[in-house]
Symmetry: C2
Subunit: 329 residues, 2 copies
DNA sequence: CTTCTATCTGGAATCGATTCCACAAAAAAA
DNA sequence: TTTTTTTGTGGAATCGATTCCAGATAGAAG
């Protein structure tokens, strides 16, 4: 591996001068510049970012902690992040926790040890020890999808989105609306979306039968099972169902169709997440698109602000969502 | 930021001793060890990976160059990579070329300057200057999805997969098989899959009408348009169609259904890629799953072999695919 | 009692860049 | 012509770790 020292020797100048040429800074004569560039060209010398960042304390790397790699949400988020970061010459260092809370703290430390210029954390449930770790991080930081007070946050309005969807059902004439959720430990998808559903029903004086509210996990089969349970245990068959993810909704739809019922005539279905899947199943699924790329771009911008300006005060950006009306309602 | 020097002072030992304790190497008395660990505990000191890797020449970072972030293939690949790398303590540094060939070379250099321990490149089309750049890289390297001689390669058998699918159509009694491809500049998806189709047809002495072979781009709408073109321009309506991606196939299916035709009775449809989408549309799409996660794991393992053992000879791993038979045929 | 080996420790060099500072030469201002 | 400013250059310190090496001490072997 070529070093700046060798370049300096070959060009018959000092390391200092080579550095100046590379960084285009300080006084360098045309003559010296020419010589150095020639040697660099000939040798294909590439300066070590590593050594550079040891001195300058800047790595041009952003750490991104994800709860799951390979989900549509994660990859849309990363896409949005990269759109902004790449433009500014930053690269993304991935950290996948696989929903393991201990790994979140571990990676936070690892990223710090790598001197990333900033960290973006997308988490589904946050515990006290994680929050404490974050507070003493002293690195530009943006939280996505969950709120941590005092920090920069990019949030989705899960509560309102869920409420809106119920309102939309009601507006379309449905009254007996069932709900397929996930564990409330997941604050956004589990807790808030359920709360939105319950509140919307209450505000409209609509009764919610206990068997209408089921809790599944994040996949299609679970949606199928939940819908089956609803139909098997209810006294009053619902005329609509909201699932908190598109997958669950697709599973539910599947069961409804398997039962020989018609969507939306017998039972209307809505999902949440705006996945590509939703658009192409039949009937196309009404869902809520949370503009995850936009969230990524927003988070990246907030982080860059911190890196450049250094304003660390609490920020909350709520990302707009869109209700995508399709023929499942 | 705390440094090893401060820890040494506080623990009343030398930096050397602190380093020994951290790395659990060399002779350290229990007494000294205890003192150092105590100080580290109290201060929350995290050693700088950056400084460390400057000296040791190891970063524990793998550069991954992707043609597109946020596609199902990319995210499945990264998932597979991460499964292996995380176990060994490596992290992934992302580089997204957005299908821009110049960026591939640029990122190759950038990753080298960052002293990543290895590079994984997933590319759709490779040009001469890229190949040259790779040859003089002198870093552990694995190519995914395309073949570069002399290097380690993880490949998908696009040609055979395509052929198999045609054979499957024929086996099921279809003879007039249309084809929706993409530009042949994309060697795997464009060129090889088309070749597989043409060869399979030829070997079975089946005629291919010119209008049956259409070229689209990577999205659903394009599949719709291609199918429309086929139906509008053909003299003999095909009874089956193979599309080189699931999206294209879904678009084609859409058109067929919109036309009031029945899948597979009137026209059978198959896609390629094994996307999740394919399973949930109706009718479920027959497709080929290329086990992209497996490719990721394989690529990661090959890279680790190079990093640890240093065997740089040409390797070719062909990843198995599965034909997923569903009711679209 | 001497010699050898194992254990323990820290000073100093090193990795490959940037940057402070001192100094020299040339150009501009007085 | 003298003084000041601008331009150009390189030596040496620095970033925060690891690691070579030399030296000290203690215990084992002869």
């Amino acid at each position: 591996m070529l070093t700046i020292k060798e370049i300096a020797e070959r060009a018959n100048v000092s390391r200092t001068t080579v550095s100046r040429v590379i960084n285009n800074a300080g006084y360098v004569s045309e003559e010296a510049k020419r010589k150095v560039l020639k040697v660099i060209e000939e040798t294909g010398y590439i300066p070590s970012e590593n050594a550079k960042s040891l001195r300058t304390k800047k790595t041009k790397v952003i750490g991104v902690i994800l709860p799951k790699i390979s989900t549509e949400t994660s990859s849309r988020l990363v896409k949005g992040l990269d759109e902004i970061f790449a433009k500014e010459g930053y690269q993304i260092l991935l950290a996948n926790t696989n929903l393991n809370p201990e790994k979140e703290i571990e990676y936070l430390k690892l990223l710090k040890s790598r001197h990333v210029d900033g960290i973006i954390l997308s988490a589904t449930n946050i515990n006290q020890s994680l929050v404490e770790e974050i507070y003493q991080l002293k690195i530009p930081f943006v939280m996505v999808g969950q709120h941590i007070s005092g920090m920069a946050n990019v949030l989705f309005d899960d509560y309102q989105a869920s409420k809106d969807m119920i309102q939309f059902f009601i507006h379309k004439g449905y009254q007996n609306i069932a709900f397929i959720g996930v564990t409330e430990e997941d604050r956004s998808v589990g807790y808030l979306r359920k709360l939105g559903y319950l509140d919307a029903m209450k505000e409209n004086q609509l009764a919610v039968e206990e068997s209408w509210v089921q809790t599944g996990i994040f996949n299609v089969d679970s949606g199928y099972e939940c819908m089956k349970t609803i139909m098997a245990t209810t006294k009053r068959t619902p005329d609509a169902v909201l699932a908190v993810t598109d997958r669950l909704a697709i599973g539910a739809s599947q069961y409804i169709k398997d039962k020989g019922l018609c969507i939306p005539k017998d039972i209307a279905v809505a999902g949440m997440g705006g996945s590509e899947l939703a658009r192409h199943i039949s009937p196309p699924l009404t869902t809520i698109d949370f503009s995850v790329e936009e969230a990524g771009r927003e988070a990246a911008s907030l982080l860059l602000e911190q890196i450049n300006g250094g304003n660390y005060h609490e920020t909350i950006k709520t990302i707009k969502y869109r209700l995508l009306e399709r023929s499942s309602i």
